[in-house]
Symmetry: C2
Subunit: 433 residues, 2 copies
């Protein structure tokens, strides 16, 4: 085994950073054997060196001079989060010829192409397994395992907070507010939960996965997002009655249109049948289903967050980047050769479920079906819910065939104006593939 040492700079020393430093120290022997070189932490950049740190952190390594640290390292591990100064420091590290490992999804979702290109041009590695679904090795899967295949569709539960909340609502029958409060009390949701519950965190992750899966630049700004704030206990209850479950899905799929192939990337809550593999993903777990042409359907499942799981993913990347450093090789590069167009809302069709409170009188179903027909929206099934509705009212559940958002909106408007339709209770997307 080589006596060579690689100089490792760690940027950021929060939960994940501390855990990474701990593993680098405690597993030094194993890491040397696996990398083919000793991994020597030469510095840990922090904002404030005087803050108390966990015992595993050698305070002599702390520095506020991140820029100086980066220019003198073989490998840079970026765990600061946020856009700046992370972006500038990663670019400096690349420019200085260091291999970079980052867990920063916000940075990649906003500035991925710039960073990928800089790394490609300079001939250095940029690894980021931990940026999507924590320890679940879906980035490596999409980036490397399916390199000889064509990805058709990526559908994931990639935000543990929202999955925990929806799972609480489903299993305990509580409303959104109570489930959110539980998630906060248990540390699954932050005091300001906006990025999670409004779907922005999931959007960043699916933008990264979509870029890899379809060899096309996708930024977080390209991803239409709808969060779970407006999912009600009644929606969840109705889903359960219909043998479905509501999940916040991050979806990237290749679609064939009249103008050729394009990709649709989006985040929204959707009804999943209970037999779907993602329906069984409970609590704060993450899972990603990938459908490919040759390999068929695959699923990756595991813990999507937390210091130790994220650190495990970071260290896997550090070993890979370190081995490349020793052998003189390169990890997989990004490729944007496909440059598929991103499809807008009207080019993307989805199935919808509408729950309608209607007067329980003869002829109402014919009237509703007529309106759907006029608007060109095709009905797949209509079911009357076996629930106690308001006096003289019934609840109809209409599931459509695939339709565009625009067609759906026009139809829902027209249906709402039918006198015997009292209320449109909910409109929810259905994903059954």
């Amino acid at each position: 085994m080589s006596e060579r040492a690689l100089r490792v700079a760690v940027l950021g020393c929060g939960t994940v950073g501390t855990e990474v430093v701990r593993l680098l120290t405690e597993q030094a022997g194993d890491l040397t054997a696996r990398t083919g070189a000793r991994l020597e932490v030469v510095g840990i950049a922090v904002r404030d060196t005087t803050v108390p740190r966990a015992d595993v952190v050698d305070t002599r390594l702390l520095t506020t001079d991140a820029s100086g640290l980066v220019r003198d390292a073989d490998l840079v591990i970026e765990l600061m989060g946020g856009i700046e100064p992370a972006r500038s420091l990663v670019l400096e590290a690349i420019e200085a010829g260091a291999g970079v490992v980052t867990a920063n999804k916000a940075l990649l979702a906003a500035h991925g192409p710039e960073l990928y290109e800089a790394a490609e041009e300079r001939g250095v590695d940029l690894y980021f397994e931990a940026a999507v679904a924590g320890a679940v090795p879906v980035v490596r899967g999409v980036r490397e395992s399916f390199a000889g295949d064509h990805v058709r569709r990526v559908v994931g539960i990639v935000n543990g907070t929202t999955n925990f909340i929806l799972d609480e609502m489903t299993s305990r029958g509580v409303g959104f507010g109570e489930a959110l409060a539980d998630a906060q009390a248990l540390g699954y949701a932050e005091a300001d939960p906006t990025a999670d519950i409004d779907g922005h965190d999931a959007a960043a992750k699916i933008a990264i996965l979509a870029s890899l899966a379809f060899h096309t630049r996708v930024s977080i700004d390209d991803v239409p997002v709808e969060g779970i704030r407006y999912v009600t206990a009644a929606d969840v209850e109705a889903a359960t009655r219909g043998h479905h479950v509501i999940k916040l899905l991050a979806i990237a799929e290749r679609r064939t249109t009249a103008d050729g192939d394009g990709i649709s990337v989006r985040v929204h809550p959707a009804l999943l049948p209970l037999e779907h593999p993602l329906a069984a993903v409970h609590g704060a777990y993450n899972a990603v289903v990938v459908d490919t042409e040759a390999a068929g359907r695959l699923m990756f499942y595991g813990q999507g967050a937390g210091g130790a799981p994220t650190a495990s993913a970071v260290l896997g990347d550090v070993v890979a980047a370190g081995r490349n450093r020793v052998s003189g090789g390169r990890g997989p590069a990004e490729s944007r050769y496909a440059e598929l167009p991103l499809l807008g809302g009207d080019e993307v069709t989805t199935q919808f479920q509408l729950r309608l409170e209607v007067a329980d009188v003869p002829g109402v179903l014919a009237e509703i079906a007529g309106t759907f027909g006029e608007k060109g929206l095709s009905i797949m099934t209509v079911t009357q819910e076996q629930v106690h509705a308001a006096d003289g009212a019934a609840v109809l559940v209409v599931v459509t065939h695939r339709a565009s958002e625009a067609a759906l909106a026009a139809t829902a408007d027209a249906v709402a104006r039918i006198p015997s339709v009292k209320r449109v209770l909910a409109v929810t997307r259905v994903e059954d593939v």
Copy 2:
């Protein structure tokens, strides 16, 4: 993009070989972009060049001179199966400095260490994702993603044939013979199903995974195997009644003993609680659960066999080996630095479930419990099955705490000699972690 071409030799042109050749041809543009060099098939070695081939196979490339082909290639894809001549040809390819991709689990499970060492010494790549669980990227996961972590346990359903058979027995209530005949009729089982149903195929795969996960040489000869031939419809029915399912599990786990850490590797049918993630793996699908110290529990799921899924895994490896060839780098090497001892039967403890047909008379339970106590085997639960047993008889289901095979065997013998115990109906291992 480089104009460079890599000379690719394909050994074997059966189902997987044909599919690999098809993908290499049809996806040539994508593969060039992803590899950074054109992949040029320079020959396909077969036993008989006169056999009719699928249209995608250019018959001018066929040759019976595998050895000559191998010595003139940058990348060798070995898809012949079996030990010889595959072993000699892979060694020749390594010696000649070619990167090797193989799907040959039998070869790796029997001669892995020899091949890994040859590749390491010569400084070339040896990739084999397709050898375990087809397209499911568990080899890459264990070999690369967890390189900064410690694996505790790998438990997999890695044989689609036996999973299909057990799933049929569970869902349709049929016996083993009928389910096997169904599997053969549908092409999920071969005319001679021995390797699958007696667990040898699963043993080869878990030997490979155990070697990677624990950095220790594990050969198929180290793996105690029990197949599913003796699982009866009554066993499956009893499992269902107890909210369990019987699966053929391939297990590799690290255990701490009085003499230090060791690993246990084994294949046998076991009862799994319905909530276990592997309980939901149906049909011919494969799945592997990996428990690690830092990352926690992860699961990989997908199609474990078939021409297209296997070819997808092969191509993923070909792109990785090709990229290394272009950049001058090396893929992950095997490492056997841990050299953990393999634990034998008496050092490994498992939970057991015994189903006993007993006389329905007072005092029988006390007698049985006394016998377990004398033999030092600790009972966790006893349940009387709510089934119609023979006249004057009842069925007791005893689940033990963890015990060694030897302790179990001695206890089962003593219990069988109790006069009020009419028959030991079944003894099955229970895996509930």
